[in-house]
Symmetry: C2
Subunit: 300 residues, 2 copies
């Protein structure tokens, strides 16, 4: 069954009536970098006026929820920290709640300050990350390396200070510390930067995946782990919940895996040509609209 292409005021009004909980991807849905998608704030206000639950679900693991909130503030979009679910936060919750990492164990981090901040908030001890000793292009040597036996997991997110030292240390922990877990915040191959695409978190963990010949535990969309994290904090009825996103293989898959409805917008990664045309994607959303701003018509 194909996706329903929304266009009339009645269709948008019916859509809004049908769902109580609205989950939004942010980049490519609400904004592009520092530019708001026209109508996005109006639609969010409209949903809040109608007492809808609004949740923001982002794979961006370079920012903590708190720093991501700063982005909303800067763009004038209303949001509470508790409404924001990032893959850094979900990773920290996974370590503390699902893996139940013992207090005397620690994590080796490949990632940025936002990931470290979320780990700290969940009381997880970590090494690596932004530690200047690991952010170097000095050649790595095993001779000067001491294996910390307390490292029980390697957590890898987007890290624009990736280097051979971090990859080598992570590889040592994953191969030499028995049972050491290999966890990635998300698997996005690229991400939309200000002036184009750059390698994403999935590309940063690719060397470890290749060297180990083993797939990691992935936390962000489309993995169900992110939804489990949201479920632990907010109550929602999947039948009355909709995920809005711009990416078929993360956002829409994520919604489908979680048993919620899905709305694809065409303001981001997924192009019109990928859903129509002669070779459409096998991932079919429930609804499609050009832009989130289209829903503003309901109030006109």
């Amino acid at each position: 069954m194909g996706a329903v292409r929304l266009s009339s005021q009645e269709e948008y009004a019916k859509l809004i009536d049908q769902y109580d909980t609205w989950m939004f991807d942010c980049d490519g849905v609400l904004w592009h970098g520092d530019r708001l998608i026209p109508g996005a704030t109006e639609v969010l206000s409209l949903l809040r006026d109608r007492k809808k639950n609004v949740i923001f679900v982002t794979n961006n693991a370079t920012k903590s929820r708190k720093s991501y909130k700063g982005k909303f503030d800067q763009l004038g979009v209303e949001a509470k920290v508790e409404e924001i679910y990032g893959s850094a936060y979900a990773t920290a919750v996974y370590l503390s709640s699902v893996l139940q990492l013992p207090k005397n164990k620690k994590v080796y981090v490949i990632g940025q300050s936002g990931l470290e901040e979320e780990l700290r908030e969940e009381g997880i001890t970590y090494i690596g990350g932004t530690d200047p000793a690991d952010c170097t292009i000095t050649p790595f040597s095993l001779e000067n390396f001491t294996l910390d036996p307390d490292v029980a997991a390697v957590v890898c997110g987007l890290d624009t200070a990736i280097n051979y030292t971090k990859l080598s240390k992570a590889f040592q922990y994953l191969t030499r510390n028995p049972g050491c877990q290999f966890i990635v915040t998300n698997e996005d191959s690229t991400y939309p930067a200000a002036h184009g695409l750059l390698p994403g978190a999935g590309s940063i963990s690719a060397p470890l995946r290749y060297a180990l010949g083993k797939d990691p535990i992935a936390i962000g969309k489309p993995a169900k782990t992110m939804l489990d994290c949201i479920k632990a904090k907010v109550h929602f009825d999947p039948r009355r919940t909709i995920m809005v996103g711009d990416r078929l293989n993360t956002d829409i898959l994520f919604g489908q895996a979680g048993g919620v409805s899905t709305l694809l917008v065409l303001t981001g990664i997924t192009l019109e040509s990928e859903i129509s045309g002669s070779n459409p994607s096998p991932i079919v959303p429930d609804y499609i609209t050009t832009s989130i701003g289209d829903l503003a018509i309901v109030d006109k």
Copy 2:
């Protein structure tokens, strides 16, 4: 049909009689790091005394043939530069002879000085590599990046100064310069360093492979490209040629793909348990011996 396990003096003598050209992997076959495998030099002398062609075939792309020759000298192993085939050299030859890179085109390098040296010797212009401007952990921004339209290939080898700048630039060339070729010196997932395993060249190119969703052209063993490079320089009869190596998925596969015989030694990566036991590798060499030193028995 299983491999022949060699043990008697007659068997080794027959083996030597049977083959005129002997191709050797080096690390794990002739030496471990800076330590010679006992008997290796004697066996090489024995082969030379009997007028055998001796060829050294290494995936190590961090060294040029000239600097690799220095390693032979240092360990007291006789070798001529022309007998050494490294994946850096084979990559340079592939660019000049097979791709026939026009003189006004250039290569973006992720790799070390040995790779640059071989490119220079083949008259190939390159950027990136060991250029201090690219060997930085300063965050990369597309705003400060100018795409060079003359970059017609990205060449990636082991680079222990790998960083986000190099990965991002390579990704730009591969996605924005039409027809830009993606070439890797070799695909080894790890390599045996002085005190253990570290991520290999295949792990360094893994982020690009993942971000692009595309496999590169691989040059080193087991790829046939390396053999084509040897064939262009030396004449050998495949039926009277044997490849000696320690790694089933590079050395032995390489020999088999090239239609030459294969001898596995157990002094390196491949363990006894991988060839016997309940779940043996599907890659079966023609012959197995414990160490290259075993062949010295012929002269005793």
